[in-house]
Amino acid sequence: MLRKLLLLLSLFLCVSLQAQVIIEVKDSSESTPLKNVQIFVVELDQILYTNSNGKALFSPGKISEYQLRISASGYEGQIITYKEGNLIKIKLLQSHIDLHEVTLSGTTSQRQDQNPFHIESRKISELSLHAPMNMGEILAKIPGVYQSSLGNGISKPVIRGMQGMRIVSLVNGLRIEGQQWGGDHGMGMAELGIGSVEVIKGPSSLLYGADALGGVIYYNDAPFASAKSYDIQLQSLFNSNTMGTVNRAILKTSGQKWRLMVAGSYANHADFKLPNQLFAKNSRFDESVLKAAFSFNAKRSVHHFRYTYNRTITGIPGHTHDSIVDFSSFQVPDQKRKYELPAQFFSNHYFSNENKWYFKNNELIALFGLTSNQLIEYDEKVTIPSLSMTLNNLLYTIKWSKKWGKHLKSVSGIQGMAQTNRNATNASDTLIPNSNTIDNGVFSTWIFEQTKWNFQGGVRYDLRSLNSLHSFNDNSSLARIYDGLNISIGSIYKSPNLLVKQAVSTGFRAPHLTELLSNGFHHGALRFEIGDINLKPERASQFDVTLEYSKEHLVIIFNPFVNYIQNYIYLQPIDSMVEGIKVFEYRQQNQVLFYGTDIGFHYHPHFAHKLHWESSFSYVNAYSGSDSSISLIPQPRLSNTLRLDLNIGKMVKFKDLALTHVFCLPQNNVAYNESQSSAYNLVDFSGSFEYSKKSRISLNVGVKNLLNQQYIDHLSRLKNIAMYAPSRTFFISLQWQLNNVNN
């Protein structure tokens, strides 16, 4: 009996051992084993790390081939396909600058040097060197991306001069909606658990349907813990300007076939301090976030469940119902933290379920999601909201990818949403009527890849049905159908040092209910707005070129674009006032041309090996044929960051120093009744230290607006009350991390 048991056990062990594959990673020039190389097995949603011998073990299942994404600091990343065998040998090429991260926001997951469409992909940690206050500030570090902020609590992304309804935001493929038509409505997105962000600049309707006219922001969660390990992170941050704190906690644990992440954060900031030593009245905010994700893999599939709850209470600085506005009344000598009116309460629930099935040469992805955004604004009374809206959104995406041989791949699918917007009956005001919106789209994209040339092209048809459920502002209930046929075509040429991308993409945006039916005060924006029921959908066509020259220590990028928009909807101030508030009408410009460029380089000099110099210049302008229609064009921006990777010390390390200088040129190209903006300089500085033994403790200290510059950005929503941006700010952040401990 014992013999039989031993025999069975040895057979089982043999089978188990056979099922394991050794991945061996070495440096390509020196052939030395590389440790701590991250290997992401896409089909198993599993992360592995190489040991001190440069080896990692991987257990393939029933799927015919696996995609392995290899990444290591100081080396160029690789994507390899595993089909069979017990040993995978990988040699990584040394590269001090790797800008070709794998992006997920495109048609299919691709390295950036294989995708004809220019996508900016950045790690959140790279963008957060100087303790940003919110996600808008993080995004505004990316060339061509800016923020439109209303103090610290409300901040929204601006891509190449376009914002609000023209920008689509997604988290792990789930489209998020948050009444973004209102400039004073927050974004509902926090840094917690987000690992990287991708930005598509310009029309992207092929990928994301209606509304993706100005661009797409795509947030990716940070990876789970590696197989059979857990990871705990605790972080506290203090900001001297707002006397604010941010506390975050993240726990990740993974088995062989399942992964779990739970996280929470709480941020609380008092009114921000101005350079004149006064405080911006009612600019305080607090934000709570709870996040959970679970993933498991079956024989041929991977399944994700993700949930995020985000609640923000934010004061609205500069908000008034008074007919005569005294700007100085918004700057006060005392800093307060406790919420008072007017205030906004946002709460967001994001739930998604993503399923991926893998077959031979085929991949099927089905994503289902539910988002709920509640926006309540209290202006005059503490128990009766002036505004209370709930926006629920049910979404689906089904995508089928097929490889048609070695060079050709297609991705086809359907995508849509069913959206309801409801006003609470106890609210005193209604800005938009109760409504239902249904979107459905069908698309197909083809990718042809060769060694030097890649081509990609696709077509998509979308149909939007928009129904208001009751009469509103003297208009009877509304029923509209909008449709759009869009294409994207692009190519990429690769040589050892040069990458040339050119792409044409189109997009469309149906007019929003606020643009069609408004007829009243929007106090948050200090406007009386009048809509136009006859507005037509906006249509955009963009031509975008990327030239990228790279050497071992230098990368230079030149990315000019022109974006031609028909039926551009804008707000035109008219010579009229209602109760002391200026009146604006929604109008349509037949044609508008947005044009500009992003130029940047990353230099890592050989003679100063610890130094990284990243520089970018972003410029955007608009031409409409008349001088009055296009407002809020961002100031030209030159940004330089010097980073010194010191890594001095053993157990206690002086990690790095970072100095950032941002110079925003004046904006004199303004719309009718829009004021010009002056140039300003901002200098931020930070340094970080690390103690590591069994766990790792990181300390990051620094200062923002070191020169205490008194400035108002052209896109600041507080410009109309002449309120400056926050003064000099010191920050300190402490993080404790325990990871890679086997269960």
């Binding site: 857990y230 705990i232 506390n247 906690a249 726990l251 644990t253 779990l260 739970v262 996280a263 929470g264 709480y266 709570s288 976030v289 709870l290 709850y309 209470i313 406790k338 919420y339 008072e340 009116l341 005059e380 009374k381 503490v382 128990t383 009766i384 269960n743």
Partner: protein, 70 residues
């Protein structure tokens, strides 16, 4: 590991949901010559009622009531 995980999750939930906003407010109305007439503190249902219906003074005039430090 399970105990660590459950303890951690509970702490996260408590820290997120632990705080509540203050339910009581000092209320006032603006007098005929612009002076502020204080009405005292109101809480819960009585706060909702006075904000919804306003305050009627001895002469029968109804005033809009404000219950915050605007």
């Amino acid at each position: 590991m399970k105990i660590k995980f459950l303890t951690f999750s509970a702490l996260v939930v408590i820290s997120i949901t632990g705080c509540k906003k203050d339910g009581c407010h000092e209320c006032h109305y603006d007098g005929p010559s612009g002076q502020i007439i204080e009405l005292g503190e109101f809480c819960g249902d009585s706060l909702e009622t006075i904000e919804a219906n306003g305050y009627t003074d001895t002469s029968g005039v109804n005033h809009v009531v404000h219950c915050h430090g605007h």
